[in-house]
Symmetry: C2
Subunit: 336 residues, 2 copies
Amino acid sequence: MAQDIIDHNRFVLSRVITMIESNKEEHRQKGSEVGYPDIAFWAIPDMRMKILDVALKVMKQRNYRNPARSSIRLGISGPPGVGKSTVAVIAVDPSSQISRGSILGDKTRMNDLAAHPNAYIRPCATGGSLGGLSQHTDEVVLLCETAGFDVILIETVGVGQSEVLVSEVADMFILLLPPVGGDELQGIKRGIMEAADLIVINKADGDLKLLAKKAQSECRSALQFLRGGAGHKWWKSDVLTCSAQTKEGVNDIMSSIETYWKLGDESGDLRLRRGKQRASWMWRKSKEDIVKMLEDCELVTKRAEELEVELRQSEKTPRWAAKELVKVFMKTGKDL
Amino acid sequence: MAQDIIDHNRFVLSRVITMIESNKEEHRQKGSEVGYPDIAFWAIPDMRMKILDVALKVMKQRNYRNPARSSIRLGISGPPGVGKSTVAVIAVDPSSQISRGSILGDKTRMNDLAAHPNAYIRPCATGGSLGGLSQHTDEVVLLCETAGFDVILIETVGVGQSEVLVSEVADMFILLLPPVGGDELQGIKRGIMEAADLIVINKADGDLKLLAKKAQSECRSALQFLRGGAGHKWWKSDVLTCSAQTKEGVNDIMSSIETYWKLGDESGDLRLRRGKQRASWMWRKSKEDIVKMLEDCELVTKRAEELEVELRQSEKTPRWAAKELVKVFMKTGKDL
């Protein structure tokens, strides 16, 4: 199976990603009962772990720790309707050195891209509490790299936590914003602007062009008060405008990405960044695991039922009840 | 202090909310060292718990479990720039029965509202991993009710998890959307539309009016495939359009809210909803607590440092390392 992925078999790639993402005990149960192949696979313990091990080995041979010699991971985020899909499609334009001239023709839309033999589009299940990003995104990215894709775009909707998470799986995080004024920019959280390596104001065409330029200078002055670009010495986050419609400004974005890539590789920082990302995924996953254990713990769910009654009848607060649950849970550690 | 809140002292209200929201050990430490009053308060163990207990007692006397006899909690969400503040200000218009004729004159903007003696605006710290909503939002709402506010608007930016959370603290959850087409609507997550008791397409004026009407009918047909309105028997989620500028459609929204309120109270469902919300806050807080314990556990952080090195050097995945951390953490339960 791992070999199939290495051989660029995207049917197997899809199946493995589905398995990696499935989190439901019932899937595993049902899988072993009815023998449905995709799911029964789950019944084999640690199988997904093994595939990932092989993937990691392959990528190490391909110099996984040196991003310039593996793939480019671009994270793209922004509120709904800002034009992420359009801008992302332009970003893998074949005229650019970055895409290694392999992916796209001009005027391609996301739907056309999906049908292209050299592209693979995967809407990812967001699952639990990770705010728009799957808890397995790092593993999905690893699998796509193993399958030999050069450019990996990780796109999330929404202005919230997911952007910060995207910056934890991407080599470069691009925040796309609509041409809005200062008041509305304040609604965009500090942490997201700080995490952005590049901010792009889209829709800078027609009536909105002036507004976009104004938003650009407001964003720029806001950036001066933030750390910006995750605080690289070799990179200062900038704000650019573009129009996905007229293509104006797109070349500037492309060359900004290329410069970032070059400088980040030379400084060794992109390699370091990937190392740090692996550490933060370790933490993220351990938190998800512990929460899942709490939810699944029988003693805890039993006590929770009692507490729900108490919450209705007595003057106890949810905060107090929460502490009770944690106490019950931690005691189960004794038996391990 | 609790008495001050009951007496509508908003200075004390602000201080207590700040305390409730503060999560930092260092604040507590520093507080007891330098004797800064707001923070030193924190050093007294369980003080915040006690204030909440008193608040809960007061609200019970005021028939807390019967929403119609306490306050109205309206949750409002939507992407940045959709006009949440404007629409929310209109929603507490004095001409409406709901606001009990006490809060606002016409054409009030959020800034004017902040200065109004009968209004209290509190930007809440979002803190950890709750995606735009504070983990103490339920307690802040309780305190505001204790202080006697009739209408409580809980507003979050972003299309993500925070909306679903807002629906867990509000009696009615209103999702505000811009007038965008079907493609872009797909970027809005199912769960959010399902959680909405009412969807409002704002900016239905001028050039955008036609687009808004189109978005309305697309949203309506999307809703047919979803459960909608948290599956009440007495309520079917609807999609309305409005213009915060021309005020067109605002009356329909107001009467939709009033109908919801009336039917929800009569059916007893709003009371049940608050009970369920308390249970889900218990779970939410217990998860936050357990994650914080994991992060703060010395044995875990020590092992994490070793694992970070292993992740850089070996072929181990972050997923494997996460399991190691959880194992170390659960063993600490033995000593409790």
